[in-house]
């Protein structure tokens, strides 16, 4: 039998299945400039739409005069709320249970809000016409601070005036949206009252933006002859867009085809439904011609989907030895003018209640108050599962603050509080069941690899040298240990606008033994066409190179909830495996028939079914595929295809251990990242090359957010960071090389044990970079300072601590 072993390994390698660093099939197109992004869609007679946007953050719209714009040669239409009202499309529902103006209905609530939609022959004429639309505004008092908003007499949302009940319970004030509470506040307060040590800290997780390199856009084409609407767009959830488009427009769902073509990065920006999508549809219906709308970068940063903006206050209780006994967290969440957070319906603050982190905390409480202000709507998950970035930043800062309070090493404090391997599945105080983990092993590996003790020694020496005046550079050692929660569903807990958060895969095997598989997700750069084929290759024994993956066309792909919150591998990846197993079950029957044995007498072996105990008698999956189409097999229908709709029993909980070593020039405030080590455990690893790429990218977006990227407003509600001149996107020059590492703790409930990885590095990276900056100043009394740690703020921190004297 030994001579068969290499053969099996060889066959297995030939499949390019699980664990193979398979090169990406997408790259042939992308490296040759043959991607097909929404702005590449060009249809005969296509018109261009452009928005008139409000220069004011809060104002009444007294009048809109379209005459001059309509008189311009090439202008086809100018739409305002008045035009949309008869269709009942001047407002639209948000994913958070609120509603949002499509075009300003009497007033505007944030700078950049959509007031009128101009439709013209080309983009230049449309832009000219935007300038010719005369809008008369009457300025209203502007509120950009959520705490001020909750005290103000100014009613921001007049449409909700008098409503004391919102979609998520009682509203305490006319600018209040919801209160969301998890855990046991009374018990938590009792623990805090009786605790040996309590550390308290307030922190602001600033507003930022996912800013994918491709902005949002859509092309709508209403074919009035056959009554069909085709909509191309930057949609992370094309099927949900189809359902929403049908509900809003009244066009039956089978008459709508939504296509997400190639997407130039999403990071959460492309989950929501934006006025531009709705206006392009209406404009196509009105004009009878295809209409394209693609926002420019300034519009993208001002109006579509900010992230974060959480004011968090924490209290953490512990024994003198550092055992955490309780955690209290309150958040004031600035949602802007409309509550357009992209969270599952029952979770108005997303999964913020993962904020007990990786630690065994017996009692905890979380309260979140959502508030309206005169800022852009959004609140999307920027490269994270619903608000997990905020949660992990919160707990990883609280751990650091507690370490300072206890005068204890922060790595050791984490170690003694980690949930232990044998405690999984672990029930957290705020309601989650963590599926699997081995935190101590990961932490020890990380600390050993970076020589943690050596780093602390070097840091202490540096502090002494600084005090002696021998250096002006301090050294920070940033730590973070994170637990993510990704892969929403299950359907019983998670839905978007009522649609349960399952996902799907349909696979069709062709007679010659190749296949096409379609899924309800959509890649935005993650490489689904490569990795889903790998999952299927291992399940059905056909080479990944023979399996085409298709996503993003609602006319062909099975219904799915899309790609965000790292849910593709945990949910659609599971559906792929399950669909593959259905194929295999039928293949087994076909093989048994061909081999003239009982179904139970054949077994699957990499790429074939063989007779048990007689491996030389076999039928390959290619033989079986052919037989499925050319043999009349008693009791079996012809053909070989399967579909699976997968409702995950639980979410998955990837985790990781990160260490950042940073030198900070006290006089310039410039941080220099000397080393970054990232250990990720995402369960079963499908394609190590792609995992590593995801980690590099997520860490870089973490670096951006921690060290400078923000959407900021002045008191008048003007966006101060509306272009890439002011909004920080790191270049190759600012970004270090990263060291990646891993452990493997499979998810016990996922068919192949995979957990998802795309967002982990961002979630774990932000606190790690921030902790490194703050750790550099710990020896000089710094307890906490808010992000983003740009050069100016770091200099200011050094100055406040008297380090420039």
């Amino acid at each position: 039998m030994n001579d068969l072993t290499p053969d099996r390994e060889e066959r297995s390698a030939g499949l390019k299945g699980l664990g193979c660093s398979r090169k990406r099939v997408e790259d042939a197109r992308f490296t040759q400039g043959k991607g097909n992004y929404v702005d590449d869609v060009k249809l005969p007679g296509m018109l261009h739409g452009d928005f008139v946007r409000s220069p004011y953050a809060h104002a009444r719209v007294v009048s809109v005069n379209k005459d001059a714009a309509l008189a311009l040669d090439g202008v086809v239409a100018v739409l305002t709320a008045e035009d949309l009202a008869p269709l009942n499309l001047h407002w639209m529902p948000t994913l958070a249970g609120d509603k949002q103006m499509v075009l300003a209905d009497g007033k505007v609530l944030f700078q950049g809000q959509e007031v009128a939609f101009v439709v013209a022959r080309d983009r230049y004429v449309a832009a000219d016409a935007v300038e010719l639309v005369e809008v008369e505004y009457e300025e209203l008092p502007v509120i950009t601070d959520p705490f001020e908003s909750l005290k103000s007499d100014v009613v921001l949302r007049e449409d909700l005036a008098g409503q004391t009940e919102g979609p998520h319970g009682p509203r305490k004030h006319h600018n209040h949206i919801f209160t969301w509470e998890q855990g046991d506040e009374t018990a938590t307060n009792q623990v805090l009252d009786g605790a040996e040590v309590v550390a308290t800290e307030s922190m602001y997780y600033h507003r930022t933006h996912p800013c994918p390199l491709e902005t949002c856009g859509s092309v709508a084409s209403m074919d009035k002859v056959n009554g069909k609407l085709t909509l191309w767009g930057t949609f992370q959830a094309p099927h949900v867009v189809r359902t929403v488009a049908s509900l809003l427009s009244g066009i039956e769902e089978h008459n709508i085809r939504v296509i997400s073509p190639d997407i130039g990065g999403g990071f959460g920006n492309k989950v929501g439904v934006y006025p531009g999508y709705v206006c392009s549809i209406v404009a196509s219906i009105v004009t009878g011609q295809p209409v394209k709308w693609v926002e420019d970068r300034m519009e993208n940063l001002m109006s579509t989907a900010f992230a974060r903006d959480y004011w968090m206050t924490g209290k953490i209780a512990a024994t003198k030895e550092g055992k955490i006994t309780g955690l209290h967290c309150h958040v004031t969440a600035d949602h802007g003018g409309f509550d357009a957070c992209a969270d599952p319906t029952k979770f108005p603050a997303g999964f913020m209640n993962i904020c007990t982190g990786s630690y065994d905390i017996p009692v905890a409480y979380l309260g979140v108050d959502g508030v309206y202000t005169n800022k852009a709507p959004g609140g999307v998950s920027y490269r994270c599962s619903f608000r997990v970035t905020e949660a992990v930043y919160f707990i990883e800062r609280m751990i650091e603050v507690l370490a300072i309070e206890l005068n204890m090493d922060a790595a050791e404090l984490r170690r003694i509080n980690f949930i232990k391997k044998e405690q999984f599945p672990y029930q957290s105080a705020l309601g989650w069941e963590y599926d699997s983990g081995d935190y101590h092993t990961a932490w020890d590996k990380a600390l050993k690899t970076v020589d943690y003790e050596g780093l602390r020694k070097e840091q202490a020496d540096r502090v002494e040298a600084f005090k002696r005046g021998e250096t002006r550079k301090l050294m920070g050692v940033g730590l973070s240990f994170f637990t993510e929660i990704v892969g929403a569903g299950p359907v019983k807990n998670c839905d978007i606008l009522g649609m349960g958060m399952f996902d799907s895969c349909e696979i069709r095997i062709h007679p010659t033994g190749s296949a096409v598989a379609r899924l309800g997700t959509i890649s935005q750069g993650q490489g689904h066409a490569t990795t889903f084929a790998q999952i299927l290759a291992s399940e059905i024994g056909l080479s990944a190179d023979s399996i085409t993956i298709e996503e993003g066309d609602t006319d062909t792909a099975p219904y799915g909830l899309g790609t965000y919150g790292s849910r593709s591998t945990p949910v659609a990846g599971a559906a792929a495996a399950m669909a593959g197993r259905k194929i295999r079950a039928k293949a087994q029957m076909i093989a048994a028939y061909l081999l003239e044995v009982h179904d139970d007498d054949v077994e699957f072996d990499v790429d074939r079914f063989a007779v048990k105990g007689a491996p030389e008698r076999f039928k390959t999956m290619k033989d079986i595929a052919y037989a499925a189409y050319n043999q009349a097999i008693p009791g079996l229908e012809p053909g070989l295809e399967a579909v699976s709709y997968y409702d995950p029993p639980n979410m998955t909980y990837p985790f990781g251990a990160y260490v950042c070593v940073m030198d900070i020039d006290v006089d310039t405030g410039v941080p220099e990242i000397r080393r970054f080590y990232a250990l990720d455990d995402c369960g079963t690893r499908i394609n190590p090359m792609i995992i590593e790429g995801q980690v590099h990218g997520g860490l870089t977006e973490a670096l951006a957010v921690a060290l400078g990227q923000e959407i900021s407003y002045d008191k008048m509600g003007n966006v101060k960071t509306g272009t890439l001149m002011d909004f920080f996107l790191p270049t190759a020059w600012e970004v270090p090389n990263y060291e990646t590492d891993y452990t493997v703790t499979p998810s016990p409930h996922h068919p192949i044990g995979a957990k998802g990885v795309g967002e982990s590095p961002h979630v774990g990276g932000v606190p790690c970079f921030s902790n490194a900056v703050q750790d550099a100043f710990r020896a000089f009394g710094l307890r906490h300072t808010n992000m983003p740690h740009d050069h100016w703020r770091i200099w200011q921190t050094a100055n406040d601590l008297g380090l420039h004297e």
Binding site: D122, G264, G693, T731, A732
Partner: protein
Amino acid sequence: MSDKMHIKLNVNGEDHEFLAEPRDLLIYALREKLNITGPHVGCDTSHCGACTVTVDGKSVKSCTMFVAQANGAEITTIEGIGQPDALHVLQESFREHHGLQCGFCTPGMITRATKLLEENANPTEEEVRFGMAGNICRCTGYQNIVKSILAVASELNSAKEAAQ
């Protein structure tokens, strides 16, 4: 609007003649008049480099150049750098080293990298990072882009040495 101008461009070895307004940007002339959609628009302010093309031998952000300024020029876009059956080494290398994810920045990135290696055939990692700093990527964190470019440089240099 204003009077149209008669524009002649040679793009990827092919001559084109068309009318354009003085204010028409090169990127839109390429994308919308000539249907060359490899170069993309990412920012409109010449920060991101997704629109990078080569104009008369120099890397140019085509969102910040009027097509009138390019009149008579020879232009190379990603479409002219390699062909499906004869890819440029950089195109191969980006795939080999996973130097791209969503692909939106990739045409500009590779177009710029071809010029970088002409400007400096044997760059250090630092020189690659500095030379590519005008092109933003939101997905890869640059590590594998830098690796892809350095691998090509080292390959070309060993080939050169072997030839000598």
